[in-house]
């Protein structure tokens, strides 16, 4: 009989302790932000989708070696290039040389898993992660990024 009442008392006491804790938490400062009006600053290393880096002339640093394309586990990068002839002075003589110029850098973000293999495998430091996280759309075409176009838009 005694044990019965002790258990009831112990049970009520445990509930009171729990309520005390929640009551104390009630007066703690708010830890959330109301999202669309306030945002949290993204950390330095945050990985968004990839972005091209420009050189001093404002053109893409990419030399179209295709390392990122080959390293990508999901095959979401596709490159296109054309070869351009240009003249260069070698030992006082003018010579024509050919070089590859990037014409298209397509990123299919729907299959990207943000592993960072492309950025790591780039030997020319031509791509980086963006801090863009506010991506929402109901159409999947919106996630096929033309990175060269984005670079031009950023510069203009």
């Amino acid at each position: 009989m005694g044990a019965y009442f002790t258990e009831i008392f112990r049970g009520l006491q445990s509930l009171a302790i729990g309520l005390g804790i929640t009551f104390k938490e009630f007066f703690q400062p708010v830890v959330t932000v109301s999202y669309p009006y306030e945002t949290i600053k993204m950390s330095e290393r945050y990985r968004g989708h990839i972005e091209l880096i420009e050189d001093e002339e404002g053109k893409a640093k990419c030399v179209v070696c295709g390392m990122c394309e080959r390293a990508c586990p999901s095959g979401c990068i596709s490159l296109a290039s054309e070869s351009v002839e240009y003249e260069v002075e070698v030992k006082g003589e003018m010579k024509t040389k050919k070089k590859k110029v990037l014409t298209k850098y397509d990123l299919n973000f729907t299959t990207c898993s943000l592993c960072g293999q492309c950025v790591e495998n780039c030997n020319f430091g031509a791509i980086t992660f963006s801090k863009d996280y506010n991506l929402a759309s109901s159409r999947k075409e919106d996630f096929h990024f033309d990175l060269l176009n984005r670079l031009k838009e950023r510069n203009s």
């Binding site: 509930l15 302790i17 804790i21 929640t22 830890v31 330095e44 586990p73 898993s113 293999q117």
Partner: protein
Amino acid sequence: MSGPIHIQPGETFTLNVGPQHPATHGVLRVKMEMDGEYIVKAETVLGYIHRMHELMGENRTYPQVLPNLSRLDYLGALGYTHGHVLAVERAAGIEVPERAEYIRAITVELNRVASHLFWFGAFVMDLGGFTPLMYAIQDREHILDMLEAVTGSRLTYCYYRFGGLYNDIDDDFIAAAKAFIPRMRKSLKKYDALVTGNIIFEKRLKDIGPISAEMCRKYGATGPVARGAGIDFDVRKNEPYSVYPEFDFDIPVYHECDSLARYKVRMEEMEQSLRIVEQGLEKLPDGPIMPAKKPKLIKPPAGDYYQAVETARGSFGIRIVSDGGKNAYRFKLRSPTYSNMSLFDEACEGMMIMDALAMMGSLDLVIPEIDR
């Protein structure tokens, strides 16, 4: 439609729990044969989130599989990626700098605390208490912020590389981790007072959902489920890997075999993980995070390699059979929750349905990891 269905005495009916049911925490389906509120027979049905990770591991090069491993268990992802890099390093014979191994151990343990915190919140929510989930998520948020600052992502990390790490930790991380440890210890005391002592919680779990040591051995259950049944087995102690022999920590073992024992094991494991983080930060050596000499193309010599690690849910094993090529010939993942879940069918026979669901919560199932 005809009139109401009258069940005759002794007649059973089938109840489908899932695949879309909040108590199964994912797309697990349990086909239960019920006699009133009592379970006569249960059968777990899998296959709703199968993504062929093993096959992907076989037709991709070794570095290309790196992001896959964190998609197995999204709550304790670092433990799984740790197992993968250790297995490939063992196969290809890559040396890892000491600093990298220390950072791996610190981040894995922080991730284990985050995983257990989320389990704690979800488990109490299964039993009907919503508030502890909010407190647990608040603490977990600190860990995720810390890990985001070093790894760049919040859940599906791709941080470890063969031979080292993607990038080094900074002073901010060390300061944040040092500030987090006392905060978490205070929170653990709060959880003890709020949940462990609660009379309703105790009555729902004590002596309910028995899983004996024999059953654990029969189904190959590991992790907190086995430790709650009195089996003193932890891969970190029994088959030490990485820098774990350097740390001083205990393995909590309870012999009660009930749901409460499994709960207590996990709560104590958080404290032990904090101890490892504390010691790791203290002993953290200086030096590089990637080896000076690393093969450009990873091609392990032909052979059979196995590596087991202790993740938040139990012993995770990864077997790589190499034929000397760029891809693995066989890529086998032994996931702990698959074994832990398999015993559910047998263990829940004759139980009441709400007790069975409480027991399922105490198994800590993460479905994408069962169904890889």
